[in-house]
Amino acid sequence: MSAVKAIPRAGSKFRTKWLTIVLFLLPAVFVFALFVLLPVVQAAHYSLYKWNGLQPLDNFVGLKNYQTAFDSSIFKTAISNNVLIIVLSLAIQIPFSLFLATLLNRRFRGRGIFRLIFFLPYVLSEAITGVVFSLMLQPGSLVDSGMKSAGLGGFIQDWLGDPNFVMITLFVIISWKYFGFHMILLLAGLKGIPRELEEAAMIDGAGRLQVFRYITLPLIGPTLRVSIFLSMIGSLQLFDMVWVMTAGGPLNASNTMAIAMFKSGFKNSQLGYGSAFAVILFLFGLALALAYQRFVLRRDIEGAVTAYNG
């Protein structure tokens, strides 16, 4: 009798547990699948068609959109611009952020204020930042007259109008906005390094540079690698600021992948072709993420595991 009673009770408990899981998880999964995963899959589907978004989706062209993309100079410029921003960020922006983080990793008067100021641009919208910088960079405006009065008049460029210089200008503004973000991450990483280690090395006669090279840098490694990863992903999807400041111009010189995709997809109503750009961007990002995960971040995970064991 009691055994018979116990079975339905266990069953209902089991059912309640599953009901809870489904009810709790389903809304998030549904929204995420509908608005994030499904569109990515659809982009892959559309990319196989020649389609303007209005007619029925029936003109199957296979991989022709990809072929056209790889052959076009717009694609080549766009992807090399993305790569350029990635390289410049890794070579300049992240080291600069690390340098400032080490400067702020001491107790001194005003540290909080400096941190507050450096991180401020992160909360400003990229689009609005772009508008202000566009005004500052207009010929004869703040930047030009500032340089003239500092005796640097000879270095004045057509900041946003010169196809050879526009990406450098954009990079500087991107760094203005994002170095504080990386600095905050790295600062948190630096705080995790015990001061005693650096002091011990100093007592053993290590110079400041040696301490940085052999103590700080290896220990900040995990945070640094995360920072680098976020910077790469961010550089890949660069859109807002470029769209507001140059819209990819002059003459497509500052196109990024996202800008080129947007232009062909919406401005020219070539949704199939634009989707091919999206898929290439996706694969590029995925390959980058997986490679980074596999070769760089894995060391951190292993390090963390062995640290727990030891």
Partner: protein
């Protein structure tokens, strides 16, 4: 350097020959420490001096565009173009700001601010609500496929969200939400889920099992525990993810640009861009509009900086 100075101190002390041995020793020691302290102070202040110089230069580089925009809004176009370097407006012009907030451009500004606010409230509410529920199952329940679902969400962080944009427009059109603020808020919430879940999960995990058992014994169901005990305990973490989500939705540009189709639905970032093309020759007015548009973000930042920083570092430093 230190040894040199010590020797000079020593020789200086040695010249005072008339003093008794004991007195001499005492005075040397005293001078030594005094001198050493001074040198120490000098060295410290010289490094902190260069530190301050560097930090002040960088801080000015950050502040110049902001100050330029704020003060530029108080100038007229003659002042802006004629002498871009002069810091202080002369005379001070208030009409740009008053026009934007109460005058000719006020309707546009307040409408865009309201649109931004509606989208932010809906998107942040949805993101944090749905992510809390999901993070709860990921953190405190055991079921097959849990890690696979979790991985699915973390994948969302790995690829550029611009990828999904073109089909998203068609999807939103199909479900009849094109040109509707909800049509922006829903995808925005979806894009915010991965980061929010990743930050909340370890936090929910850290709440002791004993608490859950005690609640169960007292007759609390899973939802009761989640709602009455877990969420109140997780308030700091919820504040953190909310602040992150607010910043992300408030500044979103690409999604509203594509999914909204009329000027009366625009959000502030779209509005500022459009305003700057509409009033190309009226720079002072553009600057005033810009400043008023970023003011909420700056005020929010000053209040919530701590949550923002802790959110970003907990999400990223742990990896």
């Amino acid at each position: 350097m230190t040894t040199n100075e010590t020797t000079t101190v020593d020789t200086a002390a040695a010249t005072v020959a008339t003093l008794s041995a004991a007195a001499r020793q005492a005075s040397t020691a005293k001078r030594k420490t005094k001198r050493a302290r001074f040198v120490h102070f000098l060295r410290l202040s010289s490094t902190s001096f260069t530190r301050y110089v560097i930090l002040i230069i960088v801080a000015s580089a950050i502040l110049i565009p902001i100050v330029y925009a704020v003060l530029g809004g108080f100038k007229d176009n003659g002042q802006l173009v004629g002498d871009p370097l002069s810091l202080i407006p002369s005379p001070w012009v208030f009409s740009n700001y008053t026009d934007v907030m109460f005058g000719a451009n006020a309707i546009v500004f307040w409408r865009e601010a309201l649109n931004s606010l509606i989208i932010a409230v809906v998107a942040v509410g949805l993101t944090v609500g749905l992510a809390s529920l999901a993070a709860f199952t990921f953190a405190r329940m055991v079921f097959p496929g849990r890690e696979a679902f979790y991985l699915l969400f973390t994948l969302g962080l790995l690829f550029p969200s611009a990828v999904a944009i073109l089909p998203l427009l068609i999807l939103v059109r199909q479900i009849g939400l094109e040109g509707n603020l909800l049509g922006v808020a829903l995808p925005q919430a979806a894009f915010g889920l991965p980061l929010t879940i990743i930050i909340l999960r370890p936090f929910f995990k850290s709440i002791p099992v004993e608490l859950e058992d005690a609640a169960k014994i007292d007759g609390c169901g899973s939802f009761g525990f989640f709602w009455r005990i877990l969420l109140p305990l997780a308030r700091p973490a919820l504040a953190t993810v909310s602040v992150l989500a607010v910043v992300n939705t408030w500044n979103a540009f690409l999604l509203p640009l594509i999914l909204l189709n009329g000027a009366d639905q625009w959000t502030l970032p779209l509005g500022v861009m459009n305003f700057s093309t509409q009033y190309v020759s009226d720079q002072a007015r553009i600057l005033a509009f810009t400043v008023v548009a970023i003011l909420p973000a700056i005020m929010f930042y000053v209040v919530a900086e701590r949550q923002l920083v802790s959110g970003l570092t907990s999400g990223a430093v742990k990896g």
